[in-house]
């Protein structure tokens, strides 16, 4: 087993990148993910990794350079947050459309305006449709474990798609917690060597990337892309099983917490799920049948599996740390789709919380679960979408 250390989320991811030792890393600093690249840049300067570090002038260029390096045949990584991801947006689609298995750490941060540097999921959710595999992480340990698995999933021969690992800005990126590191050689064996499919640098087999594709073929390529990303569900589980063998930690498509026989279910992503688990325990001790579901793989979304896990719940509260103005929160829409497609019709409410890094406290979870017990009793939901902790 590896060593245990007290460390920040960013340090954990920088350490993971050192262990992955990618061929190329092109990045531009942005709070709160800056420290990942800052530490990784020291590894490059100190010669402890073989990575070609490309310091570019913007995130658009960072992703462009990653795309070029990945097409050339390298294992490529980058890190960003918020506006940085937003500036990459155009290139995110190109990375996935060209089927380039780039791995990125996304330290979740709110989008401007107004400008804010703290954690929420508006960046990750905003890139939902960019064709990247998305894995979300509750804490530093999960982010560390997820990034190795993301590399494996992205590079899998049936998939060949970019993947991002998300963790909460500041709440996780800058907080110190105890976590376990795996030995370098164990990681090396786990991720293996990257075998590019069509490396541009293979001059004996010249290939063309990025041709014009007109209406006679475009939709066929997009259909194939959908098929590829959907396969990531199966591969995520296979990779998780292998990862459990080297780490003793087990991962699924999502984490169910005391969900069996739950009448009330709450759905919460990332760090806030940790906060709410304690509150779920308190209610369970009082005999109230409440459980929690923490999604992990958000793209592709495991609709059937999640609907099955939430199957018996009569009331579901979906929390969103991102908003879709004029619509329900992005997680609510997915869970509602999952339940509808499975033919279930639980009472479902949506709570928007924690935008711009507003703390999510145990009392917040407690108040919501109390409200859900009321809905369970009366069968009436009231306003479906509400903002919790917002001042009048």
């Amino acid at each position: 087993m590896g060593k245990k250390l007290a460390i920040t989320g960013n340090q954990a991811l920088a350490e993971a990148m050192r262990q992955i030792n990618p061929d190329v890393c092109a990045a531009y600093p942005i709070t709160p993910s800056t420290e990942i690249m800052q530490r990784f840049a020291s590894f490059v300067s100190d010669g402890v990794v073989d990575t070609e570090l490309v310091t570019v002038e913007s995130e658009h260029s960072a992703m462009s350079a990653c795309i070029g390096a990945s097409a050339a045949g390298g294992r490529v990584m980058t890190a960003t947050s918020s506006q940085g991801l937003a500036l990459m947006w155009e290139m995110l689609h190109i990375a996935s459309g060209m089927r380039l298995p780039i791995a990125m750490t996304l330290v979740n941060r709110a989008l401007s305006a107004p400008i804010n540097i703290h954690g929420d999921h508006s960046d990750g959710m905003g890139s939902r449709d960019c064709g990247w595999i998305q894995l979300y992480s509750e804490n530093a340990q999960e982010a560390y474990d997820n990034i190795f698995q993301a590399v494996r999933i992205a590079e899998h021969e049936d998939i060949r798609l970019p993947a991002m690992v998300c963790m909460d800005g500041f709440i996780i990126s800058h907080s110190i917690e105890s976590m376990e590191f795996l030995p370098d050689e164990v990681i090396r064996d786990f991720i293996g060597e990257f075998k590019p499919k069509y490396p541009l640098l293979d001059v004996d087999k010249p290939v063309t990337y990025g041709p014009l594709v007109l209406p006679d073929f475009y939709i066929e390529f997009k259909r194939a892309q959908h098929e590829a990303i959907n396969k990531a569900k199966k591969v995520t589980l296979e990779v998780a099983r292998e990862f459990e063998k080297i780490s003793g930690r087990s991962y699924g498509l999502f984490e169910p917490y005391r969900l069996d026989d739950a009448e009330i279910a709450i759905v919460l992503l990332n760090s806030a799920a940790g906060t709410a688990k304690d509150v779920v325990d308190d209610f369970r001790n009082k005999g109230i049948r409440v459980g929690l579901l923490k999604p992990r793989l958000f793209r592709p979304f495991p609709y059937e599996e999640i609907a099955e896990a939430l199957g018996d719940a009569k009331v579901i509260c979906v929390f969103d740390r991102a908003d879709s103005f004029g619509g329900f929160g992005p997680m609510y829409m997915e869970i509602a789709s999952a339940m509808m497609a499975a033919g279930s019709s639980p009472l479902m409410v949506n709570k928007i919380y924690g935008l711009g890094g507003r703390d999510f406290m145990p009392e917040d979870a407690e108040a919501v679960i109390k409200e859900m017990t009321g809905i369970l009793d009366t069968g009436k939901t009231g306003t479906l979408k509400e903002y919790i902790g917002v001042r009048e």
């Binding site: 290939v207 006679d216 194939a224």
Partner: protein, 97 residues
């Protein structure tokens, strides 16, 4: 020709075969075609240099006929052609005439 289905395509629209643009017949877009008037030609090969589609064929350093399968009728060659004594060696003629 039966077009390939989505399961048969190369991933990411990658073209693994070099130089197969030749199989794509861009000549079908043409609205007007260049016509070579050999007696006005001074064999300067400006047309060959300027053609964006490699549609001026050259053999033994002498220009030959246009490759109408790929010439898309942009008119660049006709514009650049110096011709002989003020008489162009390339003129553009509307297709169908």
């Amino acid at each position: 020709m039966k077009l390939k289905g989505w399961k048969e395509l190369e991933i990411g629209a990658i073209i693994p075969e070099a130089g197969n643009a030749e199989q794509y017949n861009t000549g079908s877009w043409r609205a007007s075609r260049p016509q070579w008037i050999e007696e006005n030609c001074i064999q300067c090969l400006f047309c060959w240099i300027y053609c964006p589609d490699s549609s001026v064929t050259v053999k033994d350093s002498k220009r030959g006929e246009f490759d109408y399968g790929h010439c898309k009728g942009c008119g660049v060659c006709a514009h650049e052609c110096p011709g002989k004594k003020g008489k162009k060696a390339i003129v553009m003629v509307e297709e169908g005439n």
